[in-house]
Symmetry: C2
Subunit: 745 residues, 2 copies
């Protein structure tokens, strides 16, 4: 520890203080915090933790948990390991081979590459596979389904290609991995292969590893295909913690486990299958980066044998939970990042995990110097994120009542790397994130993280890759706060935000790293990380300083620094998008009807490459959203009223008023939860933010209405508009009451 830190300690808030830090004290705390953040620490921890395969159930996964536990304790935290028992299938055998036109065995473990030390150390790794596929042994003709998304099946139908009884091969991208076999299964496919097309994360992004960082021909993306848009977490204990004695479903009755066998594949292997496909030429946008013509297949030209057998026993997962008790012990600021990986996981997730560990060390140092946070700080290193957000979901479910009662916010990170700050989350925290980004210096350019994020957006617009009416461009151009992206799913914030109603943030640097090229492969290694993703972990340190500031500013605030006007504006923007969406779909429906009536689909079709007309569907009506528009208007007014009142009168609040105000606001997001959940997925209760049913990770805001319009469930859309409106009205009521309180009424 450097001397300056000791000097700064003079400004630390006394541990017994019951009022928040002054701006000067806050600044001194942050300087002291920064002084404890060491990129070298992170590099050392990273090397240790990524030295062996550390997937769920592996010895090194357990060792990493113990390593983390020891560090938290060493840093002065009250830490323990919490273990859950999960149905986690591991492959006993995986087989994929071409049987027609000739016999070629494909698949298997990724080979060592020169210069990547751990790539020759995969004895303890699982072979490339996807978790929660259905096991099976099938031989069938192959059909190429592009990204395997709903509109791809619509296009296949227009080409006259059916996947029933076939094995489909889909490329990674556009939608979440797990939707590809799920949709294949729903369309009657017997099996599914998912491959990494070089157009999407291969040589057209950069030189292949190890020359550069992009995906090499033999790199495979592992992953989960658990049906997480229904429920993440242990598939046998939906909604409850997977403790040893929990009541469990059976594998056969678990709704989130697929029924067909699925394997992932490298593009080196996929090229051998795709090159020989027959059937219609695939549409132009389906042509990928491989050097031949992609056909849709479905005939007898290429037949594949696909077989997967798994060990379906329960395995333990080890969450590391660490606390620094606050003056207000029942107010929890929760911060997490997972520690399990698919193989070595140097970037995903360990780059984020060691940044979090740096924060813990820095906070521990503050603690040791006498600082005591106003609110309790909970740091969680989750296990089992990769197979299904297991560790965070089970912990959230097991402690649901306490989290609902005490949780202030959940702050997540995951992968991290060179580049600019990406921030997503609950929009009332948007200004806080922007303020912090203005105070953190980008390690390579010397500009602030905020300035860098804005400059990147301006450059994209300058190059014509970002529209001038995009809210991000408008904000960047004006030098205003950049909008947070909305959270869908894909990391450990899910259970907190979407099941329990805590606000959440997800933060990470990236965009100049090359981790995408080794994502979920055996080459996501210490060597790749330190050559291509964050040499010297400089951006790891930047992440620590960013998240550390957010934690400190929330934990030590009088009242957590929210701005409800930003939330109201975001909801207004989302409602506007849905109205536009409905209009545009109505126009598309009208055009389809006209074209069917006039036989224009047939007339437009090339008789030698025919495209069938799409099926006739009900035209999108004008959807009654006025009740929701009114509620959004009211929300905007109430939010503006509260924000102004708080800015004006905050300093005159008595401690009792302050306590009542904080209690009012702490759980305000829980008003946005629908106890009945979203259609088809009761576990997801947040009516503003959700992952899409057909995007998987990607957010669908106001999902009850938006997805109903997309899926032509127009009665649902109208009903949900009312339900959301009522929730927003309750939210406005709460803000109005908070305003009255602040104004002393």
């Amino acid at each position: 520890m450097k001397k300056t830190t000791f000097a700064a300690a003079a400004f630390l808030v006394a541990g017994t203080a019951t009022i928040a830090a002054t701006p000067a004290q806050q600044k001194a705390n942050e300087a002291a915090f920064d002084a404890s953040v060491s990129a070298d620490d992170q590099l050392g921890w990273l090397k240790t933790m990524s030295s062996a395969p550390n997937q769920v159930g592996s010895p090194h996964d357990r060792e990493n948990a113990e390593f983390l536990l020891a560090r938290y304790r060493e840093f002065g935290w009250d830490a323990h390991i919490e273990t859950f028992q999960i149905l986690y299938p591991t492959p006993i055998s995986t087989l994929v081979e071409m049987v027609t036109p000739q016999h070629v065995v494909l698949g298997g473990q990724e080979p060592p590459v020169p210069g990547d030390a751990t790539s020759s150390n995969t004895a303890g790794a699982l072979p490339p596979y996807v978790a929660y596929q259905g096991d099976g042994d099938v031989t069938a003709p192959l059909v190429y389904v592009n990204y395997g998304m709903p509109d791809d099946y619509d296009a296949l139908a227009r080409l006259g290609v059916d996947v029933k009884g076939k094995i489909v091969i889909a490329r990674y991208g556009v939608g979440w991995r797990g939707l590809k076999p799920k949709l294949a299964q729903e369309h009657g496919a017997a099996g599914c292969i998912i491959f990494s097309d070089p157009e999407d994360d291969g040589y057209h992004d950069g030189d292949a590893y190890p020359k550069g960082g992009a995906r090499p021909p033999q790199g495979v993306q592992r992953g989960s295909v658990l049906d997480m848009p229904i429920t993440p977490g242990d598939p046998l204990t939906p909604g409850i913690g997977a403790t040893a004695d929990a009541k469990r479903l059976t594998r056969a009755t678990a709704p989130t486990i697929l029924k067909i066998p699925v394997l992932p594949m490298s593009y080196g292997d996929a090229a051998k299958l795709l090159a020989g496909l027959d059937g219609p030429i695939a549409p132009r946008t389906w042509q990928g980066g491989l050097p031949f013509t992609y056909h849709a297949g479905g005939g007898r030209a290429v037949k594949v044998h696909l077989a997967v057998r798994s060990d379906w026993s329960l395995k333990p997962i080890h969450d590391v939970i660490a606390m620094l008790p606050g003056v207000q012990a029942d107010q929890w600021v929760i911060r997490g990042n997972h520690h399990d990986a698919w193989v070595f996981g140097a970037n995903d997730p360990l780059s984020g995990n060691v940044a979090m560990l740096s924060e813990a060390k820095a906070l521990g140092n503050l603690w040791k110097q006498g600082w005591r946070p106003q609110r309790t700080i909970v740091y969680a290193s989750w296990d089992g994120e990769e197979p299904g957000l297991l560790g965070s979901t089970e912990w959230a479910e097991a402690h649901a009542d306490e989290i609902r009662r005490k949780g202030v916010i959940y702050i997540n990170s995951d992968t991290n790397g060179r580049g600019s700050l990406d921030a997503a989350g609950s929009h009332d925290w948007q200004h806080l994130v922007n303020s912090v980004a203005a105070d953190v210096i980008d390690p390579e350019t010397g500009a602030s993280a905020a300035a860098r994020a804005r400059a990147k957006l301006l450059e994209r617009a300058y190059q014509g890759r970002l529209a001038r009416d995009d809210p991000q461009y408008i904000a960047a151009e004006a030098g205003a706060d950049l909008p947070l992206a909305a959270l869908g799913s894909g990391s450990d914030y899910t259970a907190f935000l979407q099941h329990l109603g805590l606000p959440a943030l997800n933060l990470g640097y990236g965009g100049e790293d090359e981790s995408g090229g080794v994502y979920h492969s055996a080459y996501d290694s210490f060597d790749h990380e330190t050559r291509f993703d964050d040499p010297g972990q400089k951006y790891g340190a930047a992440l620590s300083k960013t998240v550390g500031r957010i934690v400190l500013r929330i934990a030590d605030s009088d009242t957590p620094p929210q701005r409800f006007g930003d939330f109201a504006a975001a909801v207004g923007r989302y409602l506007g998008e849905i109205i536009k969406l409905a209009d545009s779909r109505r126009e598309g429906d009208r055009l389809r009807e006209k074209m069917i009536r006039e036989d224009a689909f047939r007339i437009a079709s090339d008789p030698l490459h025919p495209m069938l007309p799409p099926p006739a569907v009900m035209r999108t009506p004008h959807v009654e959203l006025a009740v929701l528009e009114d509620s959004v208007d009211r929300l905007k007014a109430s939010a503006a009223g509260y924000d102004a009142a708080y800015a004006d009168r905050s300093s005159s609040l008595t401690p009792a008023q302050r306590a009542r105000l904080n209690a009012m606001l702490r759980d305000i997001d829980q008003l946005l939860m629908n106890p009945a959940g979203l259609p088809f997925r009761p576990w997801f209760q947040n009516m503003v933010y959700a992952p899409g049913r057909f995007t998987g990770y990607g957010a669908k805001t106001l999902p009850g209405v938006r997805e109903a319009v997309e899926e032509r469930r127009f009665a649902d859309a109208i009903a949900f508009a009312k339900t959301i409106a009522a929730a927003l009205d309750a939210y406005s009521d709460r803000l109005d009451a908070a305003k009255a309180l602040v104004e002393g009424k």
Copy 2:
């Protein structure tokens, strides 16, 4: 000839009539015309004409001219061959080889492919080359310049890569071929290679030839790199006919011949060079269809030896000119298609040439049955189009005065194939083209050509590939006349439209053919044409029926069927585009200034893959276009006034009035010519339609203003707005006078 034709002959207009055909007579003539059009004829002629290489100067080029002459005479036309003497360089030796990192000889003639009979008959063909490159022998490092367009050089500068003294390799596409070496030369490059990237016309469009019709790895696109945006035609006789005794420039003083050596290349060869390039990774949009990472090069990794030596002697070209004299002999309806090719040219140009020959036979049959056209019909089969629009340009220059005095319209075709009707040209003829398209039946779907073109546009919009505010979509959706595309250059209409001020049309079917995959290669053969482009020449027959109707309806009209409101609307649309363009560039300039001021380009740049800021340039001002806006308003009013008056009063015109009216309108487009020409290219005089200086083929409408805005010559923009306004005012004056005449005032 079928019996029905003889029956229809009863309705033929008597040859001595001085008034035009009635609608019933016109219809009968068209039916008789159709009956003479034979796809089998076309197939037979095509087989003969494409049986041997027929480039300029070859024996078979001469034989084809003689063959055509004999056919026209056989069909009853007054035909002759008109010969010009052209500086046409043919390669004595072409050499391209990689010398670093290893020695690999590239280039040479395309090899035979199975199933393509003529591909083994290339003894009389020239090796792959481009005409009018500069000859030379250079060895230098290679730089990849994407499409080699101006913005590609801007991007290279931001990457810090200089092409001075280097050999550049550009891919075909985006801009016209000849601009690539011209811009390379202007940037100081020592040589230029142009290759066919498979992303642009290779395997991602369809299976490679001969399995499918797309470009095979060894296919090379030949072509001209004459600086045609300055002047097409013989480079030694700009502006005058290249007769034997014409006064000639020398090769050294000819402004349109390049100074550096250039060769075209297949992607099979280009892959060997590109795979090894060093330097920065090329931008994402520069990555093509080859299976590796494209780098910009410029270092020592890849060095190339490029050498070309040519025979620069004069060669003869043979235009075949055929006439059917009209009752009004001094009114010429001119129709052309070239007959020379790069090798066999079954699709380009013979598919169009044999369709034209069918028209000539059908018109000859009408003539033999006693029909006499009201106006003289001139059919021209041009030679030397490929190297530089030689035959049409020299003929137009040699007969300029007569064409200006007699020409009513020039109607062109070139390649043709399966698909829908593409029509471009002078917009007062838009309604005529649409009316004809409504009367011609698509041979594969049974719909009219007009319905098919509309259905294709609706399908594109339905698939999200055509914007709902595109004028084409708006017209298709409304069932209205589809807008003609504006003519730039790239075929034989150029001299007529842009040098002499005749209105012009260019017509062809396509979009479902695969001729793009063999364009300008030795595989553009009879076998490719009959397998992939127009099996049975059914679309050849459709083209004959389309153009034949246009010729008949113009030749036999009282007054040629123009609608000036369509022209005025098009000019108004183009002016609107320019105003938007200036606004958008001003906004881009403002953003660039702000980003330079705030150092945002540097801050946005990835320090490991740096992008330099663009240079500061003068901000686009508000350009004074009000005078032009007023003229366009007046043009719209005058056009509407004339169109309405003519529709109302046409039937009451006396023969003398009719003659005066026709004289007024025949040369009205010549009012749009600027005798001083366009900036930097006095040969191009049309102030409404021109090929772009930096597009080569693609049209730039109102070029004097549009290109001035694009090229930041703002004073030119203002000056040209006035010049165009004056021309449009003169056009309006003429229409007003015509209206007064029609109204008997």
